[in-house]
Amino acid sequence: MNGFAYLRPGSVQEAVEAFAGHPGAHYLAGGTNLVDLMKLGVTRPATLIDVGRLPLGTVEELPDGSLRVGATVRNSDLAADPRVRDRYPVLSQALLAGASGQLRNAATTGGNLLQRTRCPYFQDLGKPCNKREPGTGCGARQGVHRDHAVLGHSEHCVATHPSDMAVALAALDAQVELYGTDGARRVPVDDFYRLPGEHPERDTWIRPGELITGVLLPAATAGVPSAYRKARDRASYAFALASVAVVLRVADGVVDQVGIAFGALAHRPWRARHAELALLGAPAGPAAFEGAVALELAHAEPLRDNAYKVPLARNLALDVLNRLAPAPATAA
């Protein structure tokens, strides 16, 4: 068999040192995606560094009112955390919309962020894929791509990022905490992911050997009304055809704070900056929402067989925005 070494470091520091000392190492946490990829031969780590039992398994409140989620908090635990349900409902909803109960019990916060695309060409060693094997071409662009990207794709890759959780985190302005041999840093989720461009083999801006230690949910979005909605082929256990996470605060009929992110439309959670800019300070209502979302989706470049994603994403976004916006006060 394809042998690999297995290490279980006792601390974050030991983990990153182990990574530096073992060429071809991969971090392993819940294993719900990595182990599949190893079986498929898509990923062939020389060493697995098991970070699943590092002391990163708690959700803590920080003095500034933010919430720090450890990287190994299980998806099911995070979804059920009363503080998350109360302050960041979009995150809880997104987690529960993903995978199955069994997978959520095993999958971790850090692992969820780093899961790979489920593009069938990526998973099939017998077919070309620039993400798996740079330079081999993209099978999906002219092939079967109903599920693929409509925004931000390149000639090299039309894959989508599969995570639901990351879409909610992007809308919440969450930050990814990273630790590497150069020390710790924080990166907004929205800046953590890459578009495919010339290098679809890189999903994120993570540096070699860096370990995700946690996710910071900022105080600024705590308690702001938020919701997640996902459309899919079956009622459960399916990746999104399109999804949306919305964080929206309306004061005196005017949009005071807004975060919108789309899932399954692009190589990364797609933060709808154009729509947000258009909405900030605008009167909250169906017309403004419609205009803002249209502005964002005007950037879409659908492939032969996935043009449906544009109206689907629009409908999802409008549905959630209208739901979150308080009904206008009736004149006395």
């Binding site: 459309a231 079956r234 109206p311």
Partner: protein, 698 residues
């Protein structure tokens, strides 16, 4: 006399074994020295293997062998071309097995398979299915029947009809995907071969292996004690059992080959796509004057398999003019095969959707329209029906479903963002039966053993055969043991075509009835070895019947279509069936609702996409191929009308394994039309299709 054995909801006999993990499946026979095999699938859609470099694979520790087209054991030419594995360098389609790695462990075999370097002479391929392709031809046979049947002058009758519907329906490729993948463990002892295999019919596995390997059938034992589903894809031997036997012979070790889930779609069969043109002509009262059902489908270049979707139109409705015809297009694609209710499932989707369209044109209630077109005799054959209670199923279903309160106007029911609708469709499936043997033994302790090489593929065959035996013997059920799933038991036909219970039960009944007679005439204690009787129904079970014999049913569905997303979910499914005597209420209900769930999947979630560029399917695993999840099946109910039909078999039963999937997709599709006012004519009804149509037509 017990009187309650047949029809009683007896519990599945192996249930405890299954839920505790004690039941052993084919890959779980851990014979001493057992090795594992892993296939190397062809990475080109058509061509020839010019070289296989096995050196890197063989260099891995623990690798025993790599079989290639150049050095694999030679086989006699099989009747089924998909079994001619590793016999020549030709690659007829992507995924075809071009080498087989054998190693001490599963993981090593997998790594070895990946280390095999295959060089191909790639040839142009054609994997694009279109009905206008000039290479499509009319097959002589479709599903063992004539490819084309005509009565009257269908073109003229259709042209003259006062009311006409001319519509084309499309069903995509579908996959069976049983929970247990195709798996076999093979072991040679000299020239004696034993295989443990996941099969719907061990008797055929034995005869095919005997032919391929040039052995006497007596020298082969086939064990298929527990089978985790098949849905037709295990109806005949598949490459796994041949490859396992070759690898075991080549290495001198017991070898297990469990086909990886991802390799199943290309090598164990699929339901071929169909394009079905339906032309219905009717008089203003809604009586059919013409029915034309023309099907185009694909097959592989390895063998001709015709998805016989036009066949149910030969059975369903009274019409003076009928055409039921097929065309098939050979392509460089994986070979299609049986999938639950081949022919009927896709064919009745199209026919019953078209009938719904006709009801809309006529302004007639679709239940009433069907009843109005009930035939006195089978339209194609002119034979009288042995029993036919379709109208009763429709009426009973309508009553229970609350059909009378339905507002027939499409698009009339709205609930917030949801459009609600209900639909109905008829179901039919033929009664098939094949000769079988069985033995029944009375033992001195007052118990009985029934032996038959039947296959329990999760249906409850063990249990229901014990009920048949107990009933014929007039003894309590717990005094009867059943032994099934081994080829050293009396030979029996496969669990397929919904004929297992009828065929096996007939032989079991005969053996037990004869044994009861013998016991009645016996005085004194039984000998230690008991008394054994053997029955063979050849000549009876396969005798021509003067009757047209079919099961019928009615399917009702309620759906909610989300106008925001196009997501369509079923709220209620009700099936009412007339299938002779139901022999076990518990396992029968499970069969009906299981098949209805599969029909729900066919309607809403399941499809395989033939990737014309690469020549294989784009949904190779259960994350991508969407069978319904529990959340998709909120309220499902199946029931039946007990039929007294003396023209079937001693139990009076019709097959029930497949009819539950027939008509479900049409009922759901008709409900979606009722909900939205939009007629979708291509499955499945996924959000992309539904939302696009809602936006363009809404």
């Amino acid at each position: 006399m017990t009187g309650t054995n047949l029809g009683a909801p007896a519990e599945r006999r192996e249930g405890r074994q299954k839920v505790t993990g004690a039941a052993r499946y084919a890959a779980e026979y851990t014979l001493p020295g057992r090795a594992h095999a892993w296939p190397v699938p062809a990475a080109v859609p058509r061509g020839r293997v010019t070289a296989v470099d096995t050196s890197a694979a063989l260099a891995l520790p623990g690798v025993l062998a790599v079989l290639t087209p150049g050095d694999a054991p030679r086989l006699a030419e099989p009747e089924d071309g998909t079994l001619a594995v590793l016999q020549d360098p030709d690659v007829p389609h992507r995924g075809w097995c071009v080498a087989l790695a054998v190693a001490e462990t599963l993981e090593t075999a997998r790594a070895a398979a990946r280390a095999v370097r295959v060089t191909y002479d790639r040839k142009p391929h054609h994997a694009d299915f279109t009905e206008a392709d000039p290479d499509a031809y009319e097959p002589d046979e479709a599903g063992g029947q004539a490819g084309r049947v005509e009565r009257g002058d269908p073109e003229a009758a259709y042209a003259a009809a006062g009311v006409r519907v001319d519509v084309t329906y499309r069903v995509p490729p579908l996959h069976n995907h049983p929970m247990e993948p195709h798996a076999s463990t093979a072991h040679w002892d000299g020239d004696r071969l034993t295989v443990y295999t996941s099969s719907q019919g061990g008797t055929a596995v034995r005869s095919v292996l005997a032919q391929l390997f040039g052995l006497d059938e007596e020298g082969i034992t086939v064990v298929a004690e527990h089978v985790g589903g098949g849905f037709g894809s295990k109806g005949t031997p598949r490459p796994d059992v041949v490859l396992a036997a070759m690898a075991a012979r080549h290495t001198g070790r017991p070898v297990t080959l469990a086909l990886p889930r991802r390799y199943l779609p290309d090598v164990v069969g699929h339901r071929a796509p169909t394009v079905q043109r339906l032309r219905l002509g009717a008089d203003p009262d809604g009586r059919l004057t013409a029915l034309l059902h023309e099907v185009t489908t694909h097959t592989s270049r390895v063998k001709e398999f015709v998805e016989y979707a036009a066949v149910p139109s030969r059975v369903m409705y009274a019409t003076p003019a009928l055409r039921s015809a097929h065309r098939v297009l050979p392509l460089d694609v994986p070979s299609p095969s049986w999938m639950r209710a081949p022919g009927e499932a896709p064919g009745m989707y199209a026919l019953e959707s078209a009938v719904d369209e006709l009801a809309g044109v006529l302004g007639t209630d679709p239940v009433e329209l069907r009843i109005r077109n009930e035939p006195d005799r089978e339209p194609a054959s002119g034979k009288p029906f042995s029993s036919r209670h379709l109208a009763e199923c429709l009426r009973e279903g309508a009553r229970r479903f609350g059909w009378a309160e339905r507002d027939p106007r499409p698009g009339a029911r709205r609930e917030g963002p949801f459009l609600l609708g209900t639909g109905v469709a008829a179901a039919t499936y033929p009664v098939q039966v094949a000769p079988s043997t069985a033995s029944a033994q009375a033992l001195p302790d007052g118990t009985f053993t029934v032996r038959i090489n039947a296959a329990d593929i999760g249906t409850g065959a063990r249990t229901v055969l014990a009920q048949v035996a107990a009933d014929a013997l007039g003894v309590p059920l717990d005094r009867v043991r059943t032994e099934v799933g081994r080829s050293d038991l009396p030979p029996a036909p496969l669990a397929g075509g919904s004929m297992g219970t009828a065929s096996w039960g007939w032989a079991v009944h005969e053996a037990c009835a004869e044994l009861a007679c013998r016991l009645a005439g016996h005085t004194g204690p039984l000998p230690v070895e008991g008394i054994e009787v053997r029955a063979d129904t050849a000549g009876k079970a396969d005798a021509d019947s003067p009757y047209a014999r079919h099961a019928f049913g009615a399917q009702f569905a309620e759906v909610a279509v989300d106008t925001v997303t196009g997501e369509t979910r079923v709220r209620r499914l009700l099936g009412v069936f007339a299938a002779g005597h139901i022999l076990n209420a518990r396992t029968a209900r499970s069969q009906f609702t299981g098949a209805m769930t599969m029909g729900l999947g066919m309607a809403l979630t399941e499809h395989s996409t033939l990737d014309a560029v690469f020549g294989d399917f784009a949904e190779p695993d259960l994350a991508a191929y969407h069978v319904p999840a529990h959340a998709d099946v909120p309220d499902i109910e199946a029931d039946w009308l007990d039929e007294d039909d003396p023209h079937l078999n001693p139990m009076g039963s019709k097959g029930i394994g497949e009819i539950g999937i027939v008509g479900t997709a049409a009922a759901v599709g008709n409900a979606v039309h009722h909900a939205t006012g939009i007629r979708f004519r291509e499955l499945p009804l996924t959000p992309d299709r539904v939302l696009t149509a809602l936006l363009s037509e809404g």
